[in-house]
């Protein structure tokens, strides 16, 4: 389908060039891989454990760094239920091997890689695993993942695990004893913590337990759109109060609003501005959570294991075939920057929300 581009006038286009040149632009949460055109082939594709990095797609983006969240809930190499230790490792290893055979995408291990990527016209690629389910009850696995390249990890997915309650649970339990030990170990090792998919109380517990600020990498405001998948104001504030950074999510049918019931860049940016007003411009960024392919189709196929129905249950909304303006990581990167320019955001503020806030947090954590 035709790409969507937020239109800018000549002056704004000139500003765009300057911004791209000056500032580090980071996506805090993506799945930048290519998926099969025929969604019916998707299961077989994922079972292979050999996802294809979208080198060319990324090359057309504005991104200097991307947090790749790998196969996450669709990592079904050996089990339909996903989240198996060896499967997660298989995915990370396979992608890392591929990345090692080219020079445009750099496997990132530290902040310096982001700055080097920007200098050299490359992209720094950071591995993030959006849940810790696969570590079972093994604390050492956190270090093993770090050694293999993982630099950010979610505490739980939407489903609960041995660390705590996921957002799909109806109950309000929080972090478990093991989860607390895991948070402490992640602090010691320097692995960034993400609570995008955890239940509200678990998120609160993690924020309190962690001696470093944390990320909520791909989220929106439940106060704008009342579904379990988004976070309530108090959690967003608690995260920001401790220095954390919140990334706005754009996977299909997440960041919708009453004003914009058709999921697209306007509803997405309503969540951005709401959260920015709630916690301050220093604590927001973007984690679009997109991929190259039929994201809606993928959701349909994996709906059970990704708790899609539970997470998006709420008011009536328009079902879209794709999210206009944020259809894939490349398009999302263009339109986010362009939208901010169009809406008169200053260079300083843009620098913060496009990557500066993330860099600030990582300086403390990594």
């Amino acid at each position: 389908m035709a790409p969507y581009l937020v239109s800018l006038n000549a002056e704004e286009e000139a500003r765009l060039a300057g911004i791209l040149h000056e500032h580090v632009i980071i996506s805090l949460h993506e799945h930048p891989t290519i998926t099969p055109v025929d969604v019916n082939e998707l299961m077989a594709y994922e079972r292979e454990g050999r996802e294809a990095t979208a080198f060319e797609g990324l090359a057309h983006s504005y991104l200097d760094a991307v947090f790749d969240n790998m196969m996450d809930g669709t990592c079904v190499i050996s089990s339909k239920a996903g989240w198996k230790w060896l499967d997660v490792i298989h995915d990370i290893g396979m992608r890392s091997c591929d990345i090692a055979h080219q020079d445009f995408i750099i496997k990132g291990h530290s902040l310096e890689d982001i700055f080097r990527a920007k200098r050299e016209g490359k992209i720094a690629w950071f591995i993030s695993v959006e849940s810790a389910t696969m570590i079972e009850n093994e604390l050492d696995r956190i270090e093993i993942l770090y050694g293999l390249g993982v630099r950010m990890m979610g505490i739980t997915y939407s489903e609960s695990n041995s660390l705590g309650y996921g957002l799909k649970e109806k109950s309000s339990g929080g972090l478990t004893t093991f989860g607390k030990a895991a948070v402490e170990r992640m602090n010691k090792i320097g692995m960034a913590i993400d609570v995008s998919h955890t239940g509200d109380q678990t998120a609160r517990d993690v924020i309190e337990t962690s001696n470093k600020p944390i990320f909520i990498s791909h989220i929106g405001a439940r106060n704008l759109w009342n579904i379990q998948r988004l976070k309530p104001d108090d959690v967003l504030k608690a995260c920001a109060d401790k220095g954390g950074v919140i990334g706005i999510e754009a996977a299909p049918h997440t960041t919708i609003t009453k004003k914009h019931t058709r999921h697209g860049i306007e509803s997405f940016m309503e969540h951005f501005e709401y959260i920015k007003d709630l916690v301050g411009i220093e604590h927001v960024t973007f984690g679009p959570d997109t991929l190259y392919g039929d994201h809606v189709g993928l959701h349909g196929l994996f709906s059970k294991s990704m708790s899609i129905a539970e997470n998006t249950a709420g008011a009536d909304f328009e079902h879209v075939p794709y999210v206009e303006g944020l259809e894939n990581p490349t398009e999302a990167s263009w339109n986010i920057v362009r939208w901010l320019i169009k809406h008169g955001y200053s260079d300083e503020d843009m620098s913060k929300v496009l990557g500066g806030n993330t860099v600030r947090l990582l300086r403390e954590v990594w």
Partner: protein, 401 residues
């Protein structure tokens, strides 16, 4: 004496609390466990030595540069932890620019007494890499340019190596997964056979198996170097023939001068070199013995070096001492069956065990004395540069992507 300027005092796992986050073991002194031995040189030779070390990239093609418990009876518990202690300080006193770190190999008994489990290999690798990522003295080598950079910056480069491939089972994709995690050299088999081919302890070496051909092919495509140190003779010949690129035999010696299965016959050494491969000389206790040096020491080790050098030429030899920081002899006793010690020595002349290999007791001492010995024996600068690292780099330039 700290030759490596970039070492800043980092100790392994400094980001955790020893005794709280992981168990405490009392470790051997790294370089003074036994009386240190430095090959004596005269003043001119000492001066030349420093120049040589400054100019050349010095590579250990095979070592296990970690500290071990002082009481080797604790080694089972230590290994089960899967958290070996990298010897940053001791390595900083070596001449090494590059070390091929062979991790826990046959003694990787984290989850099973029998070792060689996929999950355990990943565990060992992951924990060690996490530690490496927390310091700046030792860099992970992924490309040849990393080796040069280490030398230039007064650092060291570490190449994760796995000396057997049993953990692959029948999964060829695991080659890529290991490559993705930094492994750049892998042995086709350990001393025991596996689903790829026969190891050196097997009496029936039927050569490389179908699965083995697939793995060799995949290793060639991915750019992972191949090692046949522990592989049976026939299987090794098949690997050399099947591989598009030269291979390594990272730690071995000449069976012709000490008749054991553990060392390689002339025809295998020649086949390896004929295809451009490089043979590293081994110094684990009681391997590279000779009739003239029945007490394992650097002289016997160098007899193997010179024999192989004369056999195939100076362009195809290097050093893979295969040492560690601790009582290696006691470790061999403890792990005898895992390391196939008995069958490795079948057929030899009688020899007495030594408590340690004089001059090559640990990775640091080995690196010092190897270069000192070459200087003492009047090898030219050019030849020294070849055997201490240049030959290895030549192969890597072809094999590594």
């Amino acid at each position: 004496m700290t030759l490596k300027k970039a070492y800043d005092g980092y100790k392994a796992y400094s980001y955790l609390e020893e005794g709280v986050d992981y168990p405490y073991f009392k470790y051997s002194s790294a370089t003074e466990r036994v009386e240190p031995y430095l090959l004596p040189l005269n003043e001119t030779q000492e001066k030349r030595l420093l120049e040589v070390v400054d100019k050349s990239i010095i590579i250990s093609l095979h070592d296990h540069p970690v500290y071990f418990p002082e009481d080797m009876k604790q080694v089972f518990e230590y290994n089960r932890e899967g958290r070996q202690i990298a010897a940053y300080e001791a390595l900083s006193k070596s001449y090494l620019d590059v070390v091929f770190d062979n991790l826990m190999d046959g003694t990787n008994t984290i989850g099973s007494k029998n070792g060689w489990k996929w999950n355990d290999v990943l565990h060992d690798l992951g924990i060690r890499l996490c530690d490496l990522a927390h310091q700046n003295f030792i860099i992970r080598a992924e490309k040849v340019e990393d080796l040069y950079r280490a030398h230039k910056e007064g650092k060291m480069a570490l190449v994760p190596t796995i000396e057997g491939a049993a953990m692959l089972e029948n999964e060829v994709d695991r080659v890529e997964i290991l490559y993705g995690f930094g492994v750049r050299l892998m042995g086709i088999t350990y001393s025991e056979g596996n689903s790829l081919g026969a190891g050196l302890k097997e009496k029936n070496d039927g050569g490389l198996m179908a699965q083995g051909y697939k793995v060799v092919e995949r290793m060639n495509k991915v750019g992972m170097a191949i090692d046949c140190s522990h592989v049976g003779d026939n299987t090794t010949i098949d690997v050399i023939e099947a591989s598009k690129h030269p291979i390594f035999m990272s730690h071995c010696g000449a069976r012709q001068i000490w008749n054991t299965r553990r060392l390689k016959p002339d025809h295998v050494i020649k086949a390896c070199a004929a295809k451009g491969g490089v043979i590293g000389i081994e110094a684990a206790p009681h391997t590279t013995l000779t009739v003239n040096n029945l007490d394992h020491n650097i002289e016997g080790f160098m007899e193997h070096f010179e024999y192989i050098k004369d056999l195939v030429g100076i362009d195809f030899v290097a050093f893979g001492p295969d040492t560690l920081y601790g009582d290696h002899v006691a470790l061999h006793h403890a792990f005898a069956s895992h390391l196939s010690i008995q069958s490795a020595h079948e057929g030899t002349a009688h020899f007495d065990e030594v408590p340690y290999v004089k001059g090559l007791e640990n990775p640091t001492e080995a690196s010092l004395n190897i270069v000192r010995w070459l200087v003492k024996h009047n090898y030219s600068d050019e030849d020294i540069a070849k055997v201490v690292g240049g030959n290895v780099i030549r192969v890597l330039e072809e094999v590594w992507v």
